[in-house]
Amino acid sequence: MISFETSPDSYRHWKLKIDGAIAFLTMDVQEDAPLVPQYKLKLNSYDLGVDIELADAVQRLRFEHPEVKTVVLRSGKGNIFCAGANIFMLGSSGHGFKVNFCKYTNETRLAMEDACRFSGQHYIAACNGTTAGGGYELALACDEIILVEDGNSAVSLPETPLLGVLPGTGGLTRVVDKRKVRRDRADVFCTLAEGIKGQRAVDWGLVDYLAPRSRFDEFVTERAKNWAEREKGKTGSGIPLKPLNPTISNDEILYHNVKLTLDRQRRVATLTVQGPSAGQPENASAICEAGSDFWPLRTFREIDHAFLHLRFNEPEIGMLLLKTEGDLEAVQKMDEILARESAHWFVKEILLFMKRTLKRLDVTSRTIFALIEPGSCFAGSLFELALAADRSYMLDSPDEEVRIALTSLNREFFPMSNGLTRIQTRFLADPDHSESVFSLPQPMKPQDAERAGLVTFSIDDLDYEDDVRVAIEERASLSPDALTGMESNLRFAGPETMETKIFGRLSAWQNWIFIRPNAVGEQGALKLYGSPQRPAFDWKRT
């Protein structure tokens, strides 16, 4: 089983050093410590294990080191920055794992960009040598790329010419969308196995600066200081993220505020979130004191962990049912506190993290139904779970009161990757309505919620149980591949952004290429990479 919990003192592949406002995150991949003992992580290449540590570091830097303004990503190897994802790992992995691996690395890179944009933590890629494929994609996720000028070191995206696949972590999109490299040049670059070095790399916008080897560290530090000086504001000590330590058994994962139960027979998982109890901290300093045990942070960390666990360790569970338990008013109150204190750096980080967790749900390829039942507390931030779901079923019972509520958090705090909130995306046809729902009386009863368009169905108690059961069984009988495609098409209505392109276009194409014989067939480029044989392509184009 793949574990997603780690911390700097147990990293094997990274070293985190903090020097005032600058953090140095050094990639020094241990060849002999791959996640699966089938390949060696040569040339600072990475697998999921390496990326889990990176994701952890990016996350911890935000919460535990608010004083850090610049993060220098560098390599602990002499002449190599990073050779990207380990090819032998990709060649020997199953389809689902490959796609999930790409998805995860993309989420990690986006978290870095999110930190740049919203947390004032700027990333600099100090490319001291070969920066290839995923290595360059890692650099692309940074604010700035500095390449050593030694007449030999290049940046490259050699996936197409060498491997018959695409750069899997947003490289193509970032080259043209983020760095705005002209597309004809990008075309040349992306088919050039050995990449581009020196002045041309700068001229084409592939890197920002060149620095000679003897002045490299000095120049990088100069640039890091330069970025740090631009960021005033938050200083002081951070909030340590304590381990979650879930109790994992065969059909249940128990966290503090979250429970994930698995019904393997039906291929259904149920995620139940326990709402906040009374007596929550009401101001920033009390929230800081509660630290990582503060309900929203702890709960969303647990939810995030549960999603990742499902993705990687439970591939056959096709459906995820979302439930909540607790006091609706307590969630509303919690949201009010969060909104009120949202200028405080720690609260802001919590909100940003909740946003990322919800995005993780958006791109999780499982059918998601929210079940809104008696005793549930789908309000505000927790109602986002229902908005993220493919469908929501709300029980309309004469005996028990079932309610939902919007809060101000639904209005602006949790944009999806298309840049719109889930409410805005939901009501694309009627933008006014996405505003007017907030003036409706809250909380809302089932029929009002259905009328307002906030739930899919409100069903009376005579039919509810059966209807929901049938809907789940029917769903579970459909082709998982078609469902994956269908759901991701429907989930991202509205405008495209770099992020939606990465997850939509890129992953869809990669997904397709990953099952094509030209890549993974017996004679495929990815299969034969590093072997004595050359790939044989089927030359027909679609």
Binding site: D150, G151, N152, L192, Y529, G530, P532, R534
Partner: protein
């Protein structure tokens, strides 16, 4: 085709004057090359007249002309061996197809990498050796040094010709960068490790020409099999010149061994250092160093690049004709692979082991040279024998790089390595001692005390010939 237009601006046998584009490109590059030669070529001897051989033809009979030349006036040019009778690719997945006279687009990047890597070594060695003229043990040796230097310069021309003629703008840029990298410069190092090592003294130089140039020989032999015909023909002619470089190295070490044996006889305690010679142990340490550095140049034991190059019919084996199977799709190669600190025999697909196949031929060749040195010791009646260390010793590239080995090839711990390495590799004291012997001898017919004169001179001239006329 094989006629050399010796008196053109750029001597050549490729009809350069009919290819205006190429001519213009090379004529643009030429002044930069000369500038590089003046900056990075042998220091201070540019105005002196050296008795050099210059290639004037590619015919095996009489290809070279000997005369006094000032090095900057040397006729650097472009010579391709005549096309082979059988113009079919002899190995790899394209075996049997006609050779390529233009670059297959599919392999452009690989070929460029091959040509650039080979090309980079040529100016590198000139840079490494540029100060040696000041400590030459005799005029004969001084002349040989310069001969090697100008020919390395011409080998750079050979690779630059390929870059200019076949690789378009990229090729021209690469050709410029061949002149902008500098051996040992941390900012613009040469591509391969051994070519950034200092060559401080003449013992280094002879070891370099014996071992490092011999790597070059095997690389050229492998490339001379290439399905890309211009590369094959270029490297074939380079090999003609390369033979002399190895002669310089092998005979140079032999003359040191010979002198050492003479000095051992003169001192009752066989204390060679007391007599101003280089003791056998020091020679052995330099062998260990330069052999292992040069063994690294062949690349990793298990190499997908090597497999790619062979499969794509770009880089064959030494004497490909002597093998029966030129496809080697299913054969394997047995090698000792480190596993948890121990060595375990493993079968590797033969195509992935092509570097090792080439290294095998190289090792045999080095051993033959070493046997000839030992003949000298045997004839002098001394029991000591020089040895080529095991291929695993002191390696920094490939599967043995992360472990430590004795010169016999047995694994040892890092602590043991630290303890013994000064017994196996030259330490500061050894270097200082060798350096202390490096006093120039520029008188005709005279030679330094630590080396014996050669049996015969250059081009049937005696040893006591004025090989260098100082300005």
């Amino acid at each position: 085709m094989s006629t050399v237009n010796q008196f053109e601006k750029i001597p050549n046998n490729v009809n350069l004057s009919e290819d205006r584009r190429l001519q213009r490109a090379l004529e643009t590059w030429q002044p930069d090359y000369l500038q590089w030669w003046l900056e990075m070529g042998p220091t201070d001897f540019q105005k002196d007249s050296i008795y050099l051989r210059t290639a004037i033809s590619v015919e095996p009979s009489g290809w070279a002309h000997f005369d006094y030349v000032k090095m900057p006036d040397y006729r650097w040019g472009i010579f391709l061996a005549p096309p082979a009778q059988d113009s079919h690719i002899r190995f790899g997945d394209f075996e049997g197809q006609p050779v390529w006279n233009e670059i297959p687009g599919e392999f452009r990047n690989w070929l460029r990498r091959i040509v650039v890597t080979q090309g980079d070594t040529e100016p590198a060695s000139v840079e490494q050796q540029r100060r040696l003229g000041h400590t030459a043990p005799s005029l004969y040796d001084l002349r040989n040094l310069f001969q090697v230097n100008v020919e390395e310069g011409r080998h750079l021309w050979a690779m630059v010709y390929l870059l200019h003629r076949f690789f378009g703008r990229d090729g021209r840029e690469e050709a410029e960068e061949l002149l902008s990298r500098r051996s040992g410069n941390p900012d613009k190092p040469r591509i391969l490790g051994a070519f950034n090592q200092p060559v401080e003294n003449w013992l280094d130089f002879f070891m370099f020409t014996m071992f490092t140039d011999r790597d070059g020989k095997y690389q050229l032999l492998a490339l001379s099999e290439s399905g890309f015909d211009p590369l094959a023909r270029t490297t074939k002619f380079m090999l003609t010149e390369e033979a002399h470089h190895m002669f310089v190295g092998e005979s140079g070490v032999m003359r040191i061994v010979q002198r050492t044996a003479e000095l051992m006889k003169q001192d009752p305690n066989e204390d060679v250092r007391k007599m101003g010679g280089i003791d056998l142990l020091t020679i052995q340490k330099y062998i260990n160093l330069w052999y292992s550095l040069s063994a690294d140049l062949f690349g990793g034991e298990i190499s997908s690049n090597a497999a790619n190059y062979f499969g794509a019919s770009l880089k064959g084996r030494h004497k490909e004709d002597s093998y029966e199977d030129h496809q080697v799709k299913s054969d394997s190669y047995k090698m000792a692979v480190p596993e948890n600190g121990k060595l375990k025999d493993q079968e590797v697909p033969l195509r992935n082991a092509m570097n090792e196949v080439l290294r095998d031929s190289y090792i045999d060749d080095c051993q033959r040279g070493c046997d000839r040195w030992n003949k000298v010791l045997e004839q002098a009646g001394f029991p000591f024998r020089l040895r080529i260390p095991n291929r695993r010793f002191n390696r920094h590239i490939g599967i043995y790089a992360d472990m430590h080995f004795t010169p016999e090839g047995d694994p040892i711990s890092a602590e043991q390595w630290e303890r013994y390495k000064q017994d196996w590799l030259p330490d500061d004291q050894d270097r200082e001692y060798v350096q202390s012997l490096m006093k120039p001898v520029y008188e005709v017919g005279k030679i330094a005390n630590w080396i014996a004169p050669p049996d015969k001179g250059v081009n049937a001239k005696p040893f006591a010939f004025e090989y260098v006329r100082f300005q």
